[in-house]
Assembly symmetry: C2
Homo-oligomer: 107 residues x 2
């Protein structure tokens, strides 16, 4: 039932490379504050994904700021697809229960 932070991070990085702090703000903004993943959640996720070869990072200096930019690897893209599928299947299944038992068996 877990893995949502990882899924969101991967999805954001699919469009363009981003740095950690930026990702935290983007999630806040795009969900209208509904999802507020702290840095304490996002950074470990980024480190874990990079360790697994799903991301690659590059430190860059921008306006006197040191940023670590992350981008998706092929493996990361694959992982994004897998997680998205799982998520869709899971929420669909839960939704079926929430709507009511009538849709139970089409067999």
């Amino acid at each position: 039932m877990a893995g949502v932070p990882e899924l969101m991070v991967l999805r954001l990085l699919k469009d363009r490379e981003m740095y950690g702090y930026e990702i935290v703000q983007a999630i806040r903004g795009q969900t209208r504050e509904v999802v507020q993943l702290s840095e304490g959640v996002v950074y470990p996720v980024l480190h874990g994904l990079e360790k697994d070869g799903a991301l690659k990072s590059q430190r860059r200096e921008v306006g006197g700021r040191s940023r670590v930019y992350y981008s998706l690897t092929a493996r990361g893209l694959r992982r994004l697809f897998d997680l998205t599928d799982s998520w869709t299947e899971l929420t669909g299944a839960i939704q079926a229960v929430l709507k009511g038992a009538s849709h139970a068996r089409t067999i």
Copy 2:
């Protein structure tokens, strides 16, 4: 991000009273095996909800089997509404990110 088992249990009990083992099977069936909550998950949830006054239980003998039937209280119904709202809001927010950044700010 947690509380899905609780939500599903409450939703099933909204329609009719059920016993624990039955709930485990119902979740398996209605989600077509996608969600397979074990008894080790469902029973503690039932006990917790009853302790909080969201459920009331009644032990009954049926065909030589001892079953504990649970039904929703007013408080449990309230809790179901709240959890459903949270779940809808959360999945909607995540979906917005998964679909892409274009829907970010309508302001």
